[in-house]
């Protein structure tokens, strides 16, 4: 019936996007800031803020207290060294890492929104880089801000500029290493499961179980008279890696049983192991996101 002459497509008002295209780097930055804010509960519900903020408050508390003690009692150095602070608070940091890492990746996996990310200009590598960088920053801030507070407090309490600055710089160096290692390990473990609770438990398990085992073994090794083995046993858990590195290279006080400092060989092995674990976990993380459907 229709001859085709009056056939036409109605313009029902769809319009093209004519605004500015912000490009890949903007998307990367947005993903990074979104993840970083999320790891402290910013931009999420009030209930999600309780745990990260609470843990952060607990993390800051000893720094405040020790500056106050140093100022009022008149100590000439802070009761906890800058390099031992994160290790002293390790259970708190461990819990924070275990909460933050699954929060970054598990929801995306659970609700299968990763394909949506990858339909944007960013690529899989960008996603992994953004998430890893965000977790590194989050852990670094978590570990380093109390040190900044202690440093400022220590300077105001007149504890000696040169000595404080030196200790603070060593503490910062350790914090960077700590953040890089823990972020790679925790993010890889968390990315293996879409269930948040399971991810939390898995990260806690990976961080603490080897640590308890290593500490018990080190005590046994020391008591049986092989002091040199203590440092080498430290290779097998992230916590004891960091501890051994700070006592070998950053003049920290060793947290190993009986304050054993690793031998020179063991010290370099610990540093090499920390770098190796970081790199391997990061590569495994990249591999995890190579699959199409996830």
């Amino acid at each position: 019936m229709s001859t085709g002459t009056d056939a036409r497509i109605h313009n029902i008002g769809y319009r093209n996007y004519t605004g500015e295209r912000l490009g890949i780097s903007y998307a990367r930055r947005a993903l990074f800031t979104h993840s970083l804010r999320g790891s402290f509960g910013l931009g999420r519900s009030a209930r999600s803020k309780v745990l990260p903020m609470g843990l952060f408050a607990i993390m800051m508390a000893p720094a405040v207290v020790m500056v106050a003690i140093a100022a009022f009692v008149g100590l000439d150095e802070l009761p906890i060294e800058y390099t031992s602070y994160a290790l002293f608070m390790q259970p708190i940091v461990g819990l924070y890492v275990a909460l933050a890492a699954p929060q970054m990746v598990s929801l995306d996996l659970r609700f299968k929104v990763t394909p949506l990310y990858f339909s944007r200009p960013i690529e899989r590598r960008d996603y992994v880089v953004a998430k890893y960088a965000a977790l590194c920053c989050a852990i670094f801030l978590f570990v380093a801000l109390p040190l900044v507070l202690a440093y400022v407090g220590g300077l105001l309490a007149d504890l000696g500029f040169a000595e404080q600055t030196r200790g603070f710089a060593q503490g910062m160096a350790l914090s960077v290493l700590f953040a890089l290692l823990h972020a790679a390990l925790a993010l890889w473990v968390a990315s293996l499961t879409p269930r948040r609770g399971f991810g939390v438990a898995a990260v806690i398990g990976v961080l603490t179980i080897p640590y308890f085992a290593v500490t018990a073994l080190q005590a046994v090794a020391y008591e049986q008279g092989s002091e040199n083995a203590v440092g080498w046993i430290g290779l097998f858990s992230p916590g004891s890696l960091i501890d051994g590195i700070q006592s070998s290279f950053l003049d920290g006080r060793s947290g190993y049983p009986y304050e054993q400092t690793p031998t020179d060989g063991a010290g370099f092995a610990l540093l090499a192991m920390a770098i190796l674990v970081t790199v391997v976990c990061y590569l495994l993380l990249g591999r995890r996101y190579r699959k199409a459907g996830l």
Binding site: L51, M89, Q90, P91, I92, G94, L95, A98, L99, T193, G197, F198, V200, A201, A202, I204, G205, T208, I209, F212, A213, T215, A216, L217, A219, V220, A221, E223, Q224
Partner: protein, 240 residues
């Protein structure tokens, strides 16, 4: 008081899939460590106390308790499938008691057996160290199961709070504030171990035995009672 179908479902939830991997990995690690220590250092009572007390009782038992205790009920409440169980003509008391029994059975099975075996490997039960830690683990398993089952009914972040209790309260605060040790399942069960092991063995607890027993029973009974109350008050139509 005990329902076989509920028990079967709970066993399947606890021992199925990947959850069982954690339950097996920890005892396997303990046995590997014990073998290594025995082969390298020989039989040594100090090493046995260090491995069983410092690793097994301090980290393995609470972690298995968290996995089994919260795993028995929390996932069902979380994904809402508890509704199908509550809709059955079963007293809610029975559901909790059955789940608690299963959680205790799983925790006891996966902690006491490996601890006894590794104790025998380490020093062949000299000074009663292996049997002392086995009994302590069994008692701690009961208390941990009740406490973590309660956490599972109270909070959605049960695993996190369970781990906070096990790691921050017992490990961090327990090592710095002596008063905290009075309120720690680990110390209560250690006090039992102290009573069983020979006096020469270096097994010590900060809590006296009678007080420890009272606190253990109190924690278990109160935990169970309150989780029954929580489940009774859970509304089926709510967003629970």
């Amino acid at each position: 008081m005990y329902n076989h179908t509920v028990a079967r479902l709970t066993y399947r939830a606890l021992l199925g899939r990947r959850r069982v991997l954690i339950l097996i990995a920890l005892p396997a690690l303990l046995l590997t460590i014990s073998l290594a220590v025995r082969l390298i250092g020989g039989s040594d009572d100090g090493a046995a106390v260090e491995v069983l007390g410092g690793f097994a009782l301090a980290s393995m038992v609470p972690l298995i308790g968290v996995v089994a205790g919260t795993g028995a009920i929390a996932p069902e409440i979380d994904d809402g499938s508890i509704v199908y169980l509550l809709a059955k003509p079963l007293p809610r008391r029975t559901i909790i008691l059955t789940k608690l029994t299963v959680a205790i059975a799983v925790t006891v099975a996966f902690t006491t057996a490996p601890i006894l075996v590794s104790g025998l490997i380490l020093n062949g039960n000299s000074q009663g160290i292996a049997s002392a830690y086995t009994v302590a683990a069994a008692v701690a398993a009961v208390a941990y199961s009740a406490i973590f089952l309660l956490l599972g009914t109270v909070s959605r972040n049960a695993v996190v709070f369970g781990l906070i209790y096990a790691l921050v309260w017992e490990a961090l605060l327990g090592s710095t504030l002596p008063g905290v040790r009075t309120l720690s399942v680990q110390q209560w069960s250690l006090s039992l171990a102290e009573g069983i092991a020979a006096s020469g063995a270096d097994v010590t607890s900060d809590v006296a035995l009678p007080l420890a027993l009272v606190l253990l029973v109190a924690a278990t009974v109160l935990g169970t009672w309150y989780s029954i109350r929580r489940l009774t008050a859970l509304t089926v139509t709510g967003d629970g």
